[in-house]
Symmetry: C2
């Protein structure tokens, strides 16, 4: 998912697969193997040995255990170190994949490993649960959401944060979802914006990877459009820039436009597919039902290339109240 999205938008990608699975885990089952931490390290060494490690950006996603989290951290630090003398020449987008909806789905040693790691990241993309896990702040309203973001900016010194899905009861009775982001100021104060998007009533797999990959490309593009910004450490905008004018906000708007288009089209196709099974009695065959539903909901990406490349922004960043 992530590799194809970045390639479609013009990036030369070196994909270091941390798992080799037959299918995503939405199916409830899969065969395959996990790359060991040593294998991850070896692949990076191979890239370096062959003169292929001049990466401008890195996106890290799902990592199965603390050892591989640490191996990826070591890669990021090595790349960051090489760019020490050239501020802005390396940027790390870290998606701290740990769980969702209050449930951890990685090993218990993964969260502490991420807490060490995120200090070196330029942008992190936690969902609500992951933001809580990293910050130690339970998010129940706007106030605590802000508190979590401030903690991540100030304690962990993370320049850019996007909390990828917030759903708070206080936000109203309509099924709506918010994406909340912030780039800190020179004094590590937050600049928080919010983008409200209509929720789509369906569970899709891989949308986190899609979001992260689009974010990487669109953030670079937004930063590139501002003179000099790519040459500054972590691409942090000057203090005069308002939250809703941040490159991070511009990027988020485009990302969400692409995602909403792709997922809306996916939902239509998924419903048509499931229509074929109308009237089937799945009793005693819950496993089959899950397989059918998972397949029907596979994100329709390759036939919707234009949604990725030419999104039409519909949801604008607003000041966080």
């Amino acid at each position: 998912m992530a590799t194809y999205v970045m390639q479609s938008l013009g990036c030369e990608v070196a994909a270091l697969n941390t798992v080799h699975f037959s299918n995503h885990l939405g199916y409830g089952q899969a065969k395959g193997t996990r790359a060991t931490a040593q294998e991850i390290t070896d692949l990076y060494t191979g890239l370096k040995d062959s003169g292929l490690s001049a990466f401008q950006m890195m996106l890290s996603g799902y990592l199965p255990g603390a050892a591989s989290v640490e191996a990826v951290g070591a890669i990021a630090r090595d790349l960051k170190y090489k760019a020490t003398m050239d501020p802005g020449e390396f940027f790390w987008v870290l998606d701290p994949v740990m769980g969702d909806n209050g449930k951890l789905y990685v090993a218990e040693d993964v969260p502490p490993a991420y807490k060490t790691l995120v200090r070196d990241a330029d942008l992190i993309l936690p969902n609500q649960f992951e933001a809580e896990t990293l910050s130690g702040v339970k998010i129940v309203d706007m106030e605590t959401l802000k508190e979590a973001i401030v903690t991540l900016h100030q304690e962990y010194r993370i320049p850019h944060i996007v909390v990828t899905s917030i759903s708070l009861p206080a936000l109203g009775s309509q099924p709506s979802l918010s994406v909340v982001g912030s780039t800190f100021t020179r004094t590590a104060e937050p600049r928080i914006f919010e983008i409200k998007i209509p929720a789509i009533d369906c569970f899709f797999s891989g949308t986190g990877d899609m979001f992260a990959a689009l974010m990487l490309v669109r953030l670079r593009e937004a930063v590139y459009n501002i003179e000099g910004l790519m040459k500054t450490k972590s691409w942090v905008s000057g203090d005069e820039v308002e939250a809703t004018e941040l490159p991070l906000a511009r990027a988020c708007e485009k990302v969400l436009a692409s995602m909403h288009e792709v997922l809306t089209r996916t939902k239509v196709r998924r419903d048509a597919e499931l229509e074929k099974y109308k009237g089937v009695n799945w009793e005693g065959d819950e496993k089959k039902k899950r397989l059918v539903e998972s397949k029907a909901a596979e994100v329709r990406l390759v036939r919707n290339l234009d949604c990725l490349r030419h999104p039409e922004v519909k949801f604008k960043a607003e000041r966080f109240a």
Copy 2:
């Protein structure tokens, strides 16, 4: 390379990686691991278990040893078997990667394994050396080239063959290259066409995979455009169709148009890149030189998406003299 090409042209791809290398072997070195035959088999079993094995086409490429060649053969036969009652519902494009320019670059047990396997393939894409290895016919002129193709059609019952690069001294003094293809008739007679293309004086890696992936997509498209053909076994055109009118010939024309555009652009960028190293004395540093040259010659694919999607046919199929 192959995955991205097929996805860019609208295919939903399940990529079963047979190796996990840091880089291609054009660099003369790489780190990483090979998937075992058991791992290959397991991944396919996982796909089947999750209801994800309704493939219309399969492309098989580089396989590191006889055991993995056999594992992939078993997958193809399983998919073929499922489509027994529905002719044309499964099509296997086999690229028998074994070597080039008279040199084998796989284990010695691989060629015999392929000789067993190709009997089940619908289309094979050998280069000149691989066509010789499979057919047992040394190709030195047009006559022996035809003999090799006839052997593959008649002894191995392979419906479609494209020999991806033929360079015969007899073809003239201009640096030119031919691609020669054939779809057999009902009586297994060859229908041979030839497409002459200008040679580009540069070594690129991955062009075999690019050719194979484009071929898969363009052949399906050409067959789809002829009523009823997709419902016939192995998509073999009726005997009345001339060599130069075959869907295989139509597909080859588009494939070569895309490739010529992408590689011409790559060559320009590669030359500009190498210009930076002009005057460098590589003596005693041949390894470094190879790394620099390999990187400079990496095929520029992601920024040349339009060459893949909208090729302009320049080289037409001709009757084979």
